[in-house]
């Protein structure tokens, strides 16, 4: 087994009666890309702040490369590049000055040039005052400052927020290159496609509780597909287990099919029917949450 980049043990944080995070136990292997998936307010940012020692846990502990966040915070943070979720910069200075100041804590800034190129931030852009930056430019600057010192661990809180599709693609390519050099990437997001694009494993968190840690391959298998089909004439609905069928009232002879996992039986049935139109929806994050919630509910009853 590979050594661990991140390890948390029953990490818990309460704020004045609000349970922000409860018993988070997580292990992220070195060299992997881990997706931390959850809706807004699920506890992703709290977890990250606890990992970095920015806030103190109510109970439990966390380690990065074996260094405890509370007792070895300075050494721990020297191993990390961090992109905060709520990104904001000092306004009366240029992007270049921000990068220089934030980079002044490290020995080398060997990845700055590469990160600037990937984020398409020119010299002229960097010398502009940050108060003139758009949301996307701020996000790009945030990514550069996190990557510039070639950290062994990258912690990114919703990294693609505000980035246009082209820069998003560059960002994913940059992450893949960095990961190949051995950097572990821990990425929090609520966008499922980001996780699918980059991550091998994913942790799903909701209301401060880790629901599951799963490989992306397994998530794909279990994801829910919703097909809305309009038939040209009345049909006999199929008798396939694990397919939920409901009448779609919008059109005549219209049905909604919901299934998770293997789509083949349903597609085989549809191929023999007089299909007029099909709309296939991608699974929403909520569907996956509901799926795991339902699963968790059954397990807890057992």
């Amino acid at each position: 087994m590979k050594s661990l980049a991140i390890m948390t043990d029953n990490l818990t944080k309460h704020y004045r009666g609000v349970q922000a995070l409860t018993d988070l136990s997580l292990a992220v292997e070195q060299g992997s890309i881990f997706g931390f998936l959850g809706a807004n307010g699920a506890g992703k940012t709290t977890s990250i702040r606890l990992l970095l020692g920015l806030i103190r846990p109510t109970s439990g502990s966390s380690q990065i490369f074996g260094l405890d966040a509370q007792t070895a915070g300075v050494k721990l943070r020297s191993q990390v590049g961090y992109l905060p979720g709520e990104l904001s910069f000092y306004t009366n200075v240029s992007g270049q000055e921000v990068l220089d100041m934030l980079g002044s804590f490290y020995k080398s800034l060997s990845w700055r040039k590469e990160a600037c190129e990937a984020m398409e931030m020119s010299e002229a852009d960097l010398w502009r005052k940050t108060r003139e930056y758009s949301t996307g430019m701020k996000q790009k600057l945030g990514i550069i400052q996190a990557v510039q010192h070639a950290p062994p661990l990258l912690i990114l809180d919703e990294p693609t927020r505000g980035l246009d599709p082209l820069i998003q693609r560059n960002f994913f390519e940059l992450m893949e290159r960095i990961n190949k050099r051995g950097t572990t990437i821990f990425m929090s997001t609520h966008v499922l496609t980001e996780v699918e694009r980059l991550c091998a494993n994913v942790g799903i968190i909701r209301a401060g509780r880790l629901l599951v840690v799963e490989s992306v391959a397994n998530i794909r298998k279990q994801r829910i597909h919703r097909l809305e089909v309009v038939f040209s004439r009345p049909v006999q609905p199929p008798n396939i287990t694990a397919v939920k069928i409901s009448l779609n009232g919008q059109f005549e002879n219209s049905y909604a099919f919901e299934t998770s996992g293997n789509l083949e039986p349903l597609l085989s049935y549809l191929s023999q029917q007089p299909v007029d139109s099909i709309v296939c929806e991608r699974a929403k994050l909520d569907d996956i949450f509901l799926h795991y919630y339902a699963k968790e509910g059954i397990e807890s009853r057992e």
């Binding site: 806030i55 050494k75 943070r77 020297s78 709520e86 000092y90 100041m101 934030l102 804590f105």
Partner: protein, 267 residues
């Protein structure tokens, strides 16, 4: 020592520091020019009864007032406009360490660097104290050389240095209290408003306590009681005692800030 962080903090604060110092410079020169242009000594001597008590309360002194250049310069140091500027600026500098970072959401960037909160505090203190020192000493020297220029026969330069040091340590006490307030709150405006309120209350106690005997014991709790440029200019030993008291207040508040910030959640 992180020179990148020091440069950055200087870069952020030099403009305000320059404006405040220029303001002090112009104010000092104008006060001296006024003293030179009018016969202040006889004007003050002809003030209506009771005015002397008020002047004494404003200067924070006791006993008979000598209407000389020393008394007049002490008025410059303790002029309400100058004090408001100094307290406001020092409070603003003190809010920069934690409260401003949290309020403007830059704390996650800075405090995630590999540097302890204590070291970050020392860096901030170094810059803030250097700027305050430069400004207060410059003001002191402006008054000395201005008085020399107008041939007003000022006290010795060493007395001005002591008065300047006392002024600096007073500003350091404001800074320390601002750090301390900043360790509890989440934005810079609250720090400046709270510290402004505390020092307004202290000034009121100092002024009213100088006029009304019943309030006088409360003056012990006002830091303005220990801001005594008049004593410094007359080379009274109490000037050093006052300076040490101000230094103790600054040290205790910065020390408490250090302890509180080590335990604080930065979010």
């Amino acid at each position: 020592m992180n020179s990148g962080l020091i440069y950055f903090k200087l870069r952020q604060n030099y403009r305000t520091a320059t404006y405040v110092t220029l303001g002090f410079f112009v104010f000092g020169l104008m006060m001296l020019a006024a003293y030179n242009a009018f016969d202040m000594q006889s004007m003050m001597g002809e003030m209506p009864p009771g005015s002397e008590d008020l002047m004494r309360a404003m200067l924070g002194t006791k006993g008979v007032l000598m209407w000389d250049i020393g008394t007049f310069l002490a008025m410059a140091w303790r002029h309400p406009i100058i004090l408001v500027m100094l307290v406001g600026w020092a409070a603003s500098l003190g809010s920069g360490y934690a409260a401003k970072e949290i309020g403007e959401k830059t704390a996650d960037l800075l405090f995630a660097r590999p540097m302890s909160r204590a070291k970050l505090l020392w860096h901030d203190l170094l810059i803030a104290a250097s700027l305050l020192f430069a400004c207060t000493m410059f003001f002191s020297l402006t008054l000395y050389f201005g008085a020399q220029f107008f041939a007003l026969n000022p006290p010795a330069l060493s007395a001005f240095v002591v008065a300047g040091l006392q002024y600096f340590v007073f500003a350091l006490a404001v800074l320390g209290i601002s750090y301390l307030v900043g360790a509890f709150v989440r934005d810079a405006k609250t720090v400046v408003a709270t510290v402004g309120g505390i020092f307004a209350a202290m000034y009121t106690i100092e002024l009213v306590g100088g006029l009304w005997d019943a309030i006088e014991p409360l003056k012990t709790f006002s830091l303005f009681t220990y801001l005594t440029p008049h004593s410094a200019l007359t080379k009274a030993s109490s000037a050093w005692t006052d300076l040490y008291i101000l230094l103790a207040v600054a040290t205790v508040s910065i020390g408490l800030t250090y302890i509180l910030m080590e335990r604080r959640d930065l979010s």
